[in-house]
């Protein structure tokens, strides 16, 4: 029997192909990186917790509310909260909605298909009728513009979809931080393995959505729809947010004649893995909101590190973004390892080759990404 050995990859990013094949993350392994990644994921976990709670709250309690003035209050409206809201001393839930809308817009996965299915439309129409049953104006408006409230309902489904997805991610990141504090996380590979394990564990977790209107429950996404965590929200999320993203008005011209934005959504490269961290904090750069939210929840060790590098507090959002990008490459590594067609430790040549093709095709997309910069620092 002839044992065929897989030759080294000739891909421009061959280094990362090989790392992934060995079950290692794309991010270089050193203590500095581990500290930064775990620290940032801790604060990200806290922020995601808030985002997720809010998205779920909006989906459940603000169903088709056309003037959701208090949608960021999570049901707790009082003078103090209002004061904080007006002083902008709060989490920037706008960013969560921005991610939700990007995900909704880019589509893909089972959730995207399900909100177009007759089952969903049927339940949605019942829910809409129930929601506006005493409002002939809205009902006639909905007749005039038949997809108006239906599209809003789809968006509500995405609210809850992303909310439930982030619920899992938040818990996973906070657990990672706890394990790091307990001394169990020593390398970037440990980080990736932790994430991979959690993703696999929750892969089949069902995503469901029901609203209660007038005492009746409407199962917009029943468990029977088979919408699952990993394939129907996780993968589309990674695709929409990490890879594609949306063009930032602060760095890309929307001028149609200048044709800076490609006509195909699938060729967008504005996602978290590609974005240049330097413009963070400037005008027209939405991720600034996330960096701003995370700055409040940095663990002490990370805060100390930022304090003594660069301009300490003044450019902290750029530094957070640089660190965040590192962590996102770890998460992406874990996701790719989770999605790889064959086990990584397979001895079968064909399987290895399939894995190679799989990784190389993803690396093709990562050529213009920040991966080299992330590993330079």
């Amino acid at each position: 029997m002839v044992t065929t050995v897989l030759e080294p990859s000739r891909h421009p990013l061959a280094k990362y192909v090989h790392r992934l094949e060995q079950g290692l993350p794309m991010l270089d392994n050193n203590d500095q990186n581990v500290m930064e990644v775990v620290g940032i994921l801790k604060s990200y976990g806290i922020v995601l917790d808030a985002y997720s709670n809010n998205l779920n709250y909006v989906a459940e309690s603000q169903f088709l509310n056309l003037f959701p003035f208090f949608k960021y209050f999570n049901g707790e409206v009082n003078a103090g909260k209002l004061g904080q809201f007006w002083w902008h001393k709060r989490i920037n839930y706008e960013y969560a909605e921005y991610c939700m809308r990007s995900m909704f817009w880019h589509g893909g996965g089972g959730l995207d298909a399900y909100v177009d299915s007759p089952e969903f439309i049927a339940v949605a129409k019942q829910a809409i009728a129930a929601r506006w049953k005493n409002n002939p104006l809205m009902l006639s408006l909905n007749k005039l513009f038949p997809d108006f409230l239906l599209e809003q309902t789809r968006q509500m489904a995405y609210y809850t979809g992303l909310g439930q997805f982030w619920r899992v991610m938040s818990d996973m990141f906070l657990a990672l931080s706890d394990r790091y504090d307990a001394g169990e996380i020593k390398s970037t590979s440990d980080v990736t393995q932790h994430i991979l394990a959690a993703l696999v564990a929750d892969a089949a977790k069902p995503i469901t959505y029901k609203v209660e209107l007038g005492g009746k429950t409407y199962h917009l996404i029943p468990e029977s729809a088979g919408i699952t965590f990993l394939m129907d929200t996780g993968v589309p999320y990674v695709e929409a947010i990490f890879f594609r993203g949306t063009p930032f008005p602060g760095t890309v011209s929307y001028n149609a004649q200048a044709a800076q934005i490609p006509p195909e959504k699938s060729t967008f490269t504005y996602g978290a893995l590609y974005a240049d961290p330097l413009p963070i904090g400037g005008s027209g750069i939405p991720p600034t909101l996330l960096m701003q939210d995370m700055r409040h929840y940095l663990p002490d060790y990370l805060q100390k590190y930022y304090d003594k590098t660069g301009r300490s507090e003044q450019d902290i959002r750029v530094k957070i973004c640089q660190t965040f990008q590192k962590s996102m490459f770890c998460v992406t590594s874990a996701a790719l390892m989770g999605l790889v067609p064959n086990p990584l430790d397979t001895d079968d040549f064909e399987a290895q080759q399939a894995n190679r093709t799989f990784f190389e095709s993803w690396m093709d997309r990562l050529i213009p990404s920040q991966i080299t910069n992330v590993n330079q620092a």
Binding site: T251, D276, L278, P279, I280, G281, G282, G310, R311, Q314, D315, I316, R317, V318
Partner: protein, 496 residues
Amino acid sequence: MLSALIWLPLIGALIIAVIPPAENSQTPRNIALVSSFCVFGWGLWIAINYDVAIAGLQFAEHIPWVEWLGLNYDIAIDGLSLPLMVLNGLLTLVAIWISSKEIHRPRFYFALFLLLQASVNGAFLAQDVLLFFLFYEIEIIPLYFLIAIWGGKRRGYAAIKFLLYTAVSGILLLASFLGLTFLSGANTFAYTALQNTSLPMASQLLLLAGIVVGFGIKIPFLPFHTWLPDAHVEASTPVSVILAGVLLKLGTYGLLRFGLGLFPEAWSVVAPWLAIWAAISALYGASCAIAQTDMKKVVAYSSIAHMAFILLAAAAATPISLAAAEIQMISHGLISGLLFLLVGIVYKKTGSRDVNYLRGLLNPERGLPITGALMILGVMASAGLPGMAGFVAEFLIFRGSFIAYPIPTLLCLVGTGLTAVYFLLMINKVFFGRLTPELAAMDPVNWGDQFPAVVLVILLFIFGLQPQWMIRWSEADTAALITPTAQVELSLNSLQ
């Protein structure tokens, strides 16, 4: 009282010179700060006590000195010199404030700065032409050293060039002053005495030519200006601030006081040519500025263009234009001081002034956003944005000069239009766009460095919104400059 403006900084300089040198000591800087603060405060106090209602010299001091020569220590202040004296006080304070704390040979440096301030104040206050000349010459020496020792790579070249030009300027002035005294038979150099002499037109023209060219080198006008861009490029930021903000004003001040003031009849003869000269100089400065790639050179050529407006106003010699010339001196002093200060910050942080290299400095986290914002306001003031001092000065210059010389005035207006062109080309290249990775590691600017710029911007706004606060000092005296020369033709068709 006035003498304090000259002697206070000299005493300060002396103290700095005699204190024992210490490693890493901030003492010289602190002494210089205190001294210049006192001088500025004293200047303000004099301004408050100055009676604007009466035109003419006030706070006069007279000490006989070299009597056989006719040279006396005659100093006084009037509406023409008062604002410039205060400007000198303010900008010297600013310059010392922004001087680096780690500067090498600090004792020499700060002593020179105070010496510079003393001599410039002396020149503004002197009422004896020879005394003026003395101060005018003394001022060259500290400035020469300030450029030659603390300058850039080609500082020696620039310093010598500056020295030669200014020396020629001095020789011409001296020749004219002496000529005036001797030809008129007055055995004194007192300004007021010389004012009342009468000479044949030919001698007047000759003497005036010496004065105009002499001060023209200082101001500077085409074609005597080439020392200025070099000097600015090589000089350190505080020196540039003083050079553009105050020292050039010595030239225009002299032009008004000793050119127009002493030779009114000859002035009215050459005025049409001066107006044309002003227009050419303004357009020339502006078009040279467009082609520059060094931020400092852009500002330097812009100085040439804006100083030419003063020549236009002086040539027109209407009550409005002369008051406007004085305002333009103040506003240009503030604006050019501000711009050089900000360019200095950019240079200090990035190590470059190249408009083709710098990019995206408005970046709020890693760039110089506040500096950029102040710079935008500064160039807008320079381009004559209403609401800031530059507009008042330029509008009044054009309004005052149009009657006398419509075509040169309109050409100068085109020059104002070009100001926006070269400054926006610069601003949009340097501050707009995406910050490049090479520039992403610069140090932040602390508020102390930017504080003087903020003050200057606020002043520009105050004077722009309340122009009377600028005009009130000098209106009576600038009007007095031309009362003896009622024959200056104010016809609408003087060029036709």
